[in-house]
Structure formats: C-alpha cells, structure tokens
Amino acid sequence: MEEQVIEKKDIKSWIEGLFADYEVYAPVLDEKKGKVYKKVESTEDINLEFLNSKNSPKDIYFPQTERLFSFSRKDEMGLIPPHMDDKKKIVFGIRPCDAMAFTMLDKVFVSGENNDFYFIKRSENTLTIGIGCIKPDSTCFCKVVGGEPSSEEGLDILLIDTGKEYVAEPVTDKGKSLIEGSSFFKEATPENIRLKEEAITNANEKIQEFDISGLKERLDRGFDLPVWAKIHEKCVGCGICTFLCPTCHCFDILDEEGKEYGERIRIWDSCQFPLFTKHASGANPRPTGKERMRQRIMHKFKYFVENNDIFACVGCGRCVKYCPVNLDIREVLKSLAGDGGGKS
C-alpha cells in the first residue's frame, strides 16, 4: 500500500470513528498531572502539542500494578483466574521512541519460550499510531541509541506532520486495514512525499548526537572501573528514572492476603531500590548506590545488548529531564565512552 494523506482537520473525526471498536489511549494535558498517556473519552482531550509525555505509555501493556490471579483460602489451591483485559486498544500519538520501546519489551515478555500471558494479551490487542517527531526536545538522543525521529519500529501506522496534512505510512497489515477502512485517507501526491521527506530531514538535524562507539569496549571490562563511584555520587536512589523509562521492565511479584481470599500481584520494581536485590537473609549483593547505578547502566548498555542486540534505551530523555539532581545519563555515557572512565 502506498503512503496516504489525511487532512489535519479530519484527524479527530477519524479517531472518533474508532471509539466504537477500540479504547483509545493518547497524550492528554491533565490539569494536575501534566502531560500523560491516558484513555480518552473524547478527541477534545487529545493533546498533540509536542513535548513528550511525562510517563511513558509502557503501562498500557505492562501496568504498574497487575493482578495475576486470586486464590481462595477456603478450599485447597482454589485458583481464580483474573479478569483479563482483552479490549481492543489504540495508542494514538505515540512517539517513535516509545513505540520502539514496545519492541524492546517484546524481547523480554515475548521471547518464544517464556511468554508473558498478560503482556501478550494486551500487546496483541493494541494498535499503535505514531506521530514522527518534527520538534524534538533538547533532551532527546534517540539517534545515539539507534532510533530516529521517524522510526517505524513498533508502530502500525506512522504519521508525519507536513503542515496541513499528515502523511500516513501503513507499517503493518493491521495498520493497512485500519487506513483502508476509513474514507478520510487519500493517496499521497509527490508534493506530499516531498514535504514529508523535508520534515524528516529537519527533525533529524535537530536531534543531538554524541559518540558512544567506545562504550561497549569500556563496559566489557568496566565492572570495576573507579568511575562508578563518581557517577553515582549524587544519585539519591529514587525510582524516577526507572519508573518513567519506557524500557525498564523489572517487576516484583507478591501476595496480598485477605481473610478468605488472596491475590497474587505484580508491581513495577526498580534496580535503584535496595530492596530489589535484598536476600531473605538480609544480605544484599548490591549494597550501595554504586552497584545499583552500575547495574542500571550495564543492563541497558551491555547485558541487554548481549542478549538482544539492541540497547535497552531509546533516548526519550525522560530520565534526563526528571532526575531531581540532574544526573544526566548522556553525560554518564559520554564519560564512559570517552576517556572519562579512568584506567581499568
């Protein structure tokens, strides 16, 4: 299918038409919470003014708190399956970096052998309609970690803003049929395509780049580098970076007990918390912030790469922007990749 065009004024009507069959999630400017991804009831709530959302949309696939199943304490092992969320969903207005993060999460939760039932159920039922970044933030660094502002990865449809219209690229079959089922789309003209290319080139120029080519080698022999002590020094050990991160996926599983019934729940956990690695004996193999910070960097830029051939970072810049002490992961990468790492 060729690229299509939809006029900007039609976009809300198009989305409105989807409400009948789908739950629509989109960026919303919440009066109190700021810009967040939320289920929207009306297209009026959707805010496409570009500054990326505060929270990443990962919780649509992987909620912060999830009931895995319930159990009865009355009869033996009376397992009660959860109410599975099998509604069809559309995530509209997602940025390419966040969509790329979905493919990353796929590697963790849908590995072939160990499939996460809950995650798959949600991701299978979800369509992603992304909008390319024509106005990236200064904290964006997707190009450094293998993304780009017009990346199609993880998307079903990619829209590029060309001023009056959006040029739509159907990426998957699901995306194609969604476009085919709508009368708002027209075949793109060569002029549309030219404008699209121009917008992409412009955006690409705006994204900052820095060299991390030395990173792998440094991390490979970097477990005991003295620089880790320096890097973590200002870190306060909160979970902002991990909780806002679109790719962080570590979780904890625990039971909550009532009088007659109980529940097994899954919650987000963070490698920055001491409890994350604390043993029942009280011993903690990652006793200080130094080891925990090292784990975060190593996991994203070494271990995950070794297992899956991609960084577990999409360069969305959330951790940069929201770190309370301005511990900038870009600086960390630069110092590790460059000569700031010290002699090993």
Binding site: R67, S72, E256, G258, E260, Y261
Partner: protein, 147 residues
C-alpha cells in the same frame, strides 16, 4: 444499603495499657457493668508503646474505629510513657482530621485501674460515635473477596 446498615456492627480495636486501662476494663467486667461488645482489646505495656502505625494499620485492615487508652497523666507505670504518647497522638489526630478522616474514627482516653465505670462509659461513647459515622471506608484496603 439500608439492610446492610441494620446488620452492621462496628468493629473497634482498643489498645489498652496493661497497668491502667486494661485493669479498668477488667474491673468493669468484674463489677458486671454493661458496655457494648464492639471492642477487640489488644493489651499493650503502655500507651507509649502504641506506634501510630498500629492505628493506621488497624484502619487499613478494616477496623471501623480505634481506641487508645492509657494511664492518667502523672500515673504512668513508666513515669512518662503517656506524656510522650500524648504528643504523638495530638499530631496524628489532627493530621487525620485534616485529610478528612472522621474525628470519631480514632479516639483516645485516660482510664485508671479504678475506673471500671469510666471504661464502660468510654466504650459506650466511642461505639456510639463510630455507629453514627458508619462503616469505615476511607482508609480500608479492599482485597478480592470472591466477587
């Protein structure tokens, strides 16, 4: 709802200090003074032993009311336990009211070992108060109950 209300009996957790209020409750019983059966007593060595977390935990676990009772000021078995407790409770009580918890939910009293009558009266008043405001919901943590 109306039906439920008729059936509902408030559950009140009472933290009683070993030396005064617990003995006071005992005296009320021995003296055969009638008081409502809605309290569940937890004996503690001193009102100063009552960590505010105990109170909050009780409320989260579904207690409709919490009563903490200790020795009168000056009578503490450990000399100053109840004085220090009084400060903690003053702040807690005020904070809970401020965030919108009904004042009747968490109550405090001084009851000596000789005040069997006062103990019965306190339990009476506390139960009445909790009954008036109804079942606790605000801080209760609901866990799956089969529905």
């Amino acid at each position: 709802m109306e039906d439920n209300k008729a059936e509902w009996e408030p559950k009140i957790v009472a933290f009683l200090c070993n030396w005064c209020s617990y003995a006071g409750a005992d005296l009320a019983g021995v003296s055969r003074i009638q008081y409502p059966p809605n309290t569940r007593t937890i004996r503690v060595p001193c009102s100063g032993r009552v960590n505010p977390l105990f109170i909050l935990k009780a409320l989260q676990n579904g207690a409709d009311g919490v009563l903490v009772s200790g020795c009168h000021p000056g009578d503490c078995h450990y000399l100053s336990g109840n004085y220090v407790a009084r400060r903690k409770f003053a702040i807690l009580k005020s904070l809970l009211k401020y965030i919108g918890i009904e004042e009747e939910r968490v109550q405090f009293s001084w009851v000596s070992a000789a005040e069997g009558g006062k103990f019965a009266e306190v339990v009476n008043e506390v139960t009445k108060g909790v009954r008036r405001i109804g079942k606790a919901t605000k801080l209760v943590k609901e866990i799956y109950n089969g529905n």
